[in-house]
């Protein structure tokens, strides 16, 4: 939400050994802030993840489709998971 911030595309390696995946972008004024924002937004601080941020202007695209990117939330905050909640017996569609 800024007049002059730069758009950075974000790539996450969720586990050691896996390839980095594109997950979206962040707006930040410089690369350190971009990394921090990417960490806050796309990893909820998953341990062992590696983040790449690249200024959007440096991405060169072919005409092919972008790969799909998915993200798994951290295991540390169980209340983000639906299984954490006790639902009344017999409840449906929730």
């Amino acid at each position: 939400m800024s007049e002059n911030t730069v758009v950075w595309e974000v790539f996450i390696q969720s586990k050691n050994g896996l390839a980095h995946k594109h997950v979206g972008n962040v707006h930040a004024s410089d690369k350190e802030m971009a990394l921090q924002s990417a960490r806050d937004l796309y990893t909820r601080r998953n341990e062992g993840s590696c983040i790449w941020v690249v200024k959007a202007e440096y991405i060169v695209s072919s005409e092919s489709e972008d790969g799909e990117a998915f993200f798994d939330p951290s295991n540390d905050k169980m209340y983000r998971h639906p299984t954490f909640y006790t639902m009344p017996k017999g409840s449906k569609y929730i």
């Binding site: 939400m1 800024s2 007049e3 002059n4 911030t5 758009v7 979206g24 972008n25 962040v26 707006h27 930040a28 004024s29 410089d30 802030m33 937004l41 695209s61 005409e63 489709e65 972008d66 799909e68 990117a69 998915f70 993200f71 939330p73 905050k77 209340y79 983000r80 998971h81 639906p82 954490f84 909640y85 006790t86 639902m87 009344p88 017999g90 409840s91 449906k92 569609y93 929730i94």
Partner: protein
């Protein structure tokens, strides 16, 4: 020629990606829809953010904060998706501030008690989920992918709300009364989230043709009502619609007439919190200006030093 190829792609359930040719009207429609979806997530942080400082237990506080934080994240995913269509986040925020872009009317209602946190999670997120599950199959790639990501996170939101309502409904008489009151105030506004009746919606035709929209408003509204009635009954709360009745023939619940005057009034800017929500957003944006300027100034200095 392009139009024909484009429509063929749509008809074959292929995804349209940012670099693909698209009719100008398709692009404009998407910018409007995705940005309004994004604005809704961000404005939606306010009515719930209202109760973070007063959440009645540590667990409730953390859960509510995580939920509202998620909403900020969803807004960000959606702004990202919208930017692929050739518009900046800054322009989108300006449109919001100038009243050129709207956000979901439900957020123009105030959250008056802790039970509202239950009602909002259960009903508002519940309605949003019905809509968003459908949108996972929308034709524009970046929008569809953000919907998939959002849906994964959204189900905890609804459970959080329903759990609050359940606890209160079986709690003290005051808690039960508070829960029922919240349901009474949020039921109809939640139903209105599905928009006007399809017969009154001029954009629906193109939207369905281009597979931006995958199901009709009335269809989604009916789905939400059908799945929610049982949930209310299970926890002993009464939905404030005397005309609500199971129709064996249709296989759906019949329900009462919505107050369309109220619906259009709030959509057009005359709801309880319209002025407040926008003022809050503008204020935060304005007060943050010196911070954003400082960050930019610093990065420019660093660039000079490093060059």
């Amino acid at each position: 020629m392009n139009e024909q190829k484009f429509q063929e792609k749509i008809d074959l359930e292929r995804k349209i990606e940012p670099k693909d040719w698209m009719p100008d009207a398709y692009r404009k429609h998407l910018i409007r829809q995705i940005s309004q979806h994004a604005h809704s997530e961000i404005i939606g942080m306010q009515p719930e953010g209202n109760w973070i400082s007063r959440a009645p237990s540590l667990r409730a506080k953390m859960i509510l904060l995580a939920k509202v934080q998620d909403e900020a994240g969803h807004g960000l995913y959606l702004y990202s998706a919208c930017e692929t269509l050739g518009i900046s986040r800054q322009e989108l925020v300006q449109q919001l501030h100038e009243g050129k872009a709207k956000y979901s009317s439900i957020f123009n209602y105030p959250t008056l008690s802790w039970a509202d946190m239950g009602a909002v999670g259960w009903l508002v997120d519940g309605a949003a989920i019905v809509n968003q599950v459908s949108l996972q199959r929308t034709s524009y790639g970046p929008y569809a992918r953000s919907m998939v990501k959002i849906c994964k996170e959204e189900s905890f939101h609804q459970r959080q709300g329903y759990e609050i309502m359940d606890e209160m409904a079986k709690g003290t008489p005051e808690q039960k009364e508070m829960a029922q009151d919240a349901l009474n105030r949020f039921w109809w506004p939640s139903i209105m989230m599905f928009g006007p009746q399809d017969s009154d919606s001029p954009r629906t035709e193109n939207s369905m043709k281009w597979k931006i929209k995958r199901q009709f408003n009335d269809e989604l509204r009916q789905k939400f009502i059908d799945q929610t009635v049982g949930q209310a009954e299970l926890i002993g709360l009464t939905i404030p619609d005397p005309n609500l009745k199971w129709n064996e023939e249709r296989g759906h619940y019949d329900f009462g007439e919505m107050d369309w005057d109220e619906f259009w009034s709030v959509v057009n800017g005359n709801g309880p919190c319209n002025i407040q929500r926008l003022d809050h957003h503008k204020k935060a944006h304005k007060e943050g200006e010196w911070v954003r300027n400082a960050a930019t100034a610093y990065s420019k200095k660093q660039e000079k030093v490093n060059s």
